[in-house]
């Protein structure tokens, strides 16, 4: 694979440019190349350059524009460049770069198209290509949807290769040696006589040459880094307390802020800050979007003062109590609310008319993201520019929004993306940046750090969607014959894009993601999406639609398989019509020794979900003890096409499983009087160490395309557990969290 010609047809352009005492290399994409972000802030002697590799007299910097929320994105992106550049990871620094249209995310659009990721048809490819275009024009630099790896895989290796070959050309010029006699390793070009010229020495010369673009990407079997266990570049910092996150930033004269915000997300009718204003360290009390902010000289003092403000809050713009939210969903299974029916195989009406159908209803609650680092942003406003330091997945939206608030040109809004203490989709929102800016505008010239208290973080979260599904199915000769699933939820994309001012036109594929696109051939098979009216504001939560639909679809299938009297794993394999997915199911069977005898009070469940293009199967073993259900073991298999770093792969899948299990067992966000009833981790525990099972993960590489693995481990976890509990106890749990129905130990 990978002559540049092939790449160039897909509108990649390659460039290099001189910068002060150095050179920069990269790939600028699209027919009308986006404006180069590294052009700004360059000193004299600088010229046109492109992103990704930057070599100056100070060292080698790799630009890794996809944000790192903890999933190791910086390391993965650096490894892709370093593989071809021939540098080691201990020789470079990484920098997330400046938000720029040049870093747009193509892979994200792929998942917005209503074609199964297993669908290679011309029309599917075409639609993905068409969808790609608006993403480019909007210049959406988003980290999400497990897209970092697919998006970067060729682009970054190509950038590394172009830089390497151009540096070799520079070495040939300087040394008068033929290029084909030169080799590269550890950041240097090696000459036939044993001498070497470092990339840093060669940078200035390289900058005067046309970049070498006749490139063949290396054969995977020659890779030094990709596919081998790596050490994450941030691992020492994160084990010694020296990793700085957004919340840790400190600047001279910086002030600290806190907010009290309407827990019902309505208006502020009136407030009294008399006490707060007199409290020690308080500088200012300022109204902000959604509530009141306090600027003080210390975070704790600001939080104490924020708590001391008494406010008369307006009502919620959505139903005040849960009953109304659920009713809105149950009322949505109508033709009027029909959003999509991407799958409708066979003759559903005929099949259901002939038999008494098996029917069931499933529910999934709102869930908070609650990454351990609370939301925060530091903003410095001056007359000419705004600087923002924050952990975010949407730097470009922030630029546009802050430009609107401050009236300062977007070019002068500088977003510095910092390491994030988790996200799970939380940092796809930018309300905190808007509020921090509103505060900072009142103390121009002084940086203000706004930190949400954990309670505010919970109260103001844009949660995972609430969702419901209804199954009707029939069986024939011990096999599943009809599978008719309707799913109702409000539109996540509508809610999320609405806050950014973009209308989301057409059906929302997330309403049925993880259900309509499953690789099964069932004679009569229909998946219908119903769009419920907007309720509480919602946002993408690790694995998005599939986080609820993976549970609905797989548990429904499991019920039908049991009703048919078939073996849960064998019947899934029989129904599966996608080779890579079938192998995933077979492999998890082998790993878990499926079918082997368990103790009487034990049970084993399997679940499968294909999400973000990744087939993932999980088998869970539980024991029903007198005190409650204990999860003993989890076996997981996922196929991502190509594993970049097996250590990180294992971490992401097993972390996804813990995330999926913890919320399925123990968590929900409920509203009473318009406000979330859960305010901190004591009411939203996730999973703790004592409940964490032994987890075994295996990765496969049979898939056609490389895929990311941050999310696909999540969806099968909940159904695998529910199916295992059924196997052990005979109890079918159809609603999350399961602890409403059963105790866990």
């Amino acid at each position: 694979m990978g002559r540049l010609k092939t790449i160039a047809r897909r509108t990649f352009l390659i460039g290099s440019a001189a910068i002060v005492g150095g050179v920069a290399f990269g790939t600028v994409m699209y027919k009308r190349p986006a404006k180069n972000p590294l052009l700004q802030d360059l000193g004299p002697g600088a010229a046109a350059i492109t992103p990704y590799v930057l070599i100056t007299q100070e060292g080698i910097t790799l630009i890794t524009p996809r944000a790192d929320k903890g999933q190791g994105a910086y390391s993965v992106q650096a490894a892709l460049i370093a593989e071809e550049l021939d540098v080691e990871l201990d020789q470079i620094t990484v920098d997330p770069g400046t938000p720029s249209p040049a870093y747009y995310n193509t892979a994200l659009a792929n998942d917005m198209a209503p074609f199964r990721s297993t669908d290679d048809s011309i029309i599917a490819e075409f639609t993905r290509a068409v969808l790609d275009a608006p993403v480019k024009f909007l210049g959406i630099q988003i980290t999400g949807g497990s897209t970092t790896v697919p998006d970067s895989y060729e682009k970054l290796r190509m950038a590394g290769a172009v830089a390497r070959e151009t540096l070799k050309a520079a070495a040939a010029k300087v040394s008068n040696q033929p290029v084909d006699q030169l080799t590269t390793a550890r950041g240097a070009v090696h000459l036939p006589d044993g001498r070497m010229l470092t990339y840093i020495e060669l940078a200035a010369t390289a900058a005067t040459l046309n970049p070498v673009t006749d490139i063949t990407l290396r054969d995977p079997q020659d890779w030094r880094l990709i596919g081998k266990p790596m050490q994450r570049i941030d691992i020492a910092a994160k084990s010694t307390g020296t990793q700085a996150y957004g919340i840790d930033i400190r600047m001279p004269d910086m002030l600290h802020a806190a907010v009290t915000l309407n827990p019902r997300r309505g208006s502020v009718n009136s407030y009294d800050a008399t006490t707060a204003e007199t409290m020690r360290g308080v500088r200012k009390v300022v109204p902000v979007t959604g509530g009141i902010g306090v600027i003080a000289d210390n975070t704790w003092r600001a939080m104490q003062a924020a708590k001391a403000i008494s406010v008369d809050w307006g009502a919620a713009p959505y139903p005040a109590d849960m009953d109304a939210h659920w009713k809105s969903l149950t009322d949505s299974f109508t033709d009027d609310q029909l959003d999509s029916q991407y799958r409708n195989d066979g003759d559903i009406a005929g099949a259901l008319g002939n038999a008494e159908p098996v029917s069931a209803e499933y529910r999934a609650p709102y869930l908070a993201h609650a990454p351990l680092e609370p939301i925060n942003a530091t903003v410095l406003v001056t007359d000419a520019r705004v600087d923002i330091w924050t952990g975010t997945q949407i730097p470009r939206f922030i630029q546009a929004n802050i430009s609107k608030i401050t009236g300062i040109d977007a070019d002068n809004i500088h977003v510095h993306v910092l390491m994030m203490g988790g996200s799970f989709g939380h940092r796809l929102e930018d309300m905190v940046v808007r509020q921090a800016t509103e505060l900072a505008m009142t103390v121009k010239g002084t940086p203000v750090k706004l930190t949400y208290s954990r309670e505010q973080d919970f109260a103001q979260d844009f949660t995972r969607q609430i969702a419901m599904a209804q199954l009707r199915g029939t069986l024939r000769n011990g096999q599943v014959d009809t599978f008719d699933l309707g799913i109702a939820m409000p539109s996540v994309i509508g809610s999320q894009m609405g806050r950014q001012g973009f209308p989301a036109a057409g059906p929302d594929t997330q309403i049925v993601a993880g259900a309509w696109d499953q690789p099964f051939a069932i004679p009569n098979y229909r998946i219908t999406g119903y769009r419920a009216p907007e309720l509480a504001p919602i946002s993408s939560w690790r694995s998005v639609g599939a986080s609820t639909n993976g549970f609905f679809h797989d548990c429904a299938l499991d019920e039908l398989i049991h009703a048919a009297g078939a073996d849960p794993l064998a019947e899934r394999i029989r129904l599966c019509n996608h080779a890579a997915s079938r192998t995933v199911l077979e492999t998890v069977g082998e790993m878990s020794n499926w079918g082997s005898k368990l103790d009487e009070n034990q049970g084993r469940g399997v679940a499968f979900c294909l999400s973000f293009g990744v087939p993932c199967a999980e088998v869970i073993e539980v024991t029903a003890t007198p005190a409650g259900v204990r999860i003993d073991k989890v076996f997981a298999v996922a196929d991502v096409g190509r594993i970049i770093d097996p250590v990180n792969f294992e971490a992401q899948v097993s972390g996804g499983i813990v995330f999926g299990l913890g919320h399925a067992m123990n968590c929900e966000i409920t509203y009473a009087d318009g406000a979330a009833q859960q305010s901190n981790y004591h009411q939203f525990e996730g999973l703790r160490l004592y409940q964490c099972p032994e987890i075994k993960v295996r990765g496969l590489e049979n898939g056609r395309t490389i895929r990311g693995v941050g999310e696909p481990g999540v969806p099968p976890a909940a159904p695998a557990l529910a199916n295992a509990i059924f196997a052990a106890t005979g109890q079918r749990i159809r609603e999350m969290p399961f602890n409403k129905y059963i105790k866990f130990v």
């Binding site: 929320k69 903890g70 999933q71 050490q231 994450r232 941030d234 691992i235 020492a236 910092a237 994160k238 084990s239 010694t240 307390g241 020296t242 990793q243 700085a244 996150y245 919340i247 840790d248 400190r250 600290h256 020690r280 210390n298 975070t299 704790w300 003092r301 609650a370 990454p371 351990l372 680092e373 609370p374 994030m420 203490g421 988790g422 996200s423 799970f424 930190t451 208290s453 954990r454 250590v647 990180n648 971490a651 097993s654 972390g655 996804g656 499983i657 813990v658 995330f659 913890g662 901190n680 981790y681 004591h682 525990e685 996730g686 999973l687 703790r688 160490l689 004592y690 964490c692 032994e694």
Partner: protein, 152 residues
């Protein structure tokens, strides 16, 4: 008032009820201890006071008695504590935000219980929350650290 953190004496002028966490982070600029919940539910703020693990978000500075050690004082990138070394060897951290607290809790625990069973580990470290789900590697790293501390 005066306090000693990682062997250095500091003078601060703060309210007696300000939690140690915020004195460390905002007054002294020692940011290894993290704010996660503020109510003793996550353990991200764990430090040692005279070697004992303490939730610094819960300790009013006025009640502090004894020397404070934070993750920065436990070991440094150039001189790692055995627990930190084990955390690196097992590549425990994902986002890493909980790990200062996990490491401080584990180090104090192994001091008291050098030869822990799996159940001891579960019991001792379940009060520290990890939203990224690094628990399997935490278990493995604690065992490695225990072995290396015994060998030392």
């Amino acid at each position: 008032m005066q306090l000693t953190v990682n062997g250095t004496a500091y003078q601060v002028d703060v309210e007696l009820d300000m939690p140690l966490l915020w004195v460390l982070r905002d007054e002294l600029g020692i940011t290894g201890p993290k704010y996660g919940c503020g109510i003793a539910q996550c353990g991200a703020c764990t430090v040692h006071v005279e070697g004992m693990p303490v939730r610094s978000c819960q300790l009013p500075i006025g009640d502090l008695e004894g020397e404070v050690t934070t993750i920065e004082g436990l070991g440094t990138p150039d001189a790692l504590h055995a627990v930190q070394q084990a955390w690196i060897d097992h590549q425990v951290a994902q986002c890493g935000y909980c790990q200062s607290g996990q490491i401080m809790a584990a180090a104090a625990f192994l001091d008291l219980n050098p030869d822990p069973s799996d159940q001891d580990i579960d019991r001792a470290l379940s009060a520290n929350l990890c939203r990224c789900g690094t628990y399997p590697r935490i278990r493995a790293a604690v065992k490695t650290a225990a072995a290396s501390l015994k060998g030392a």
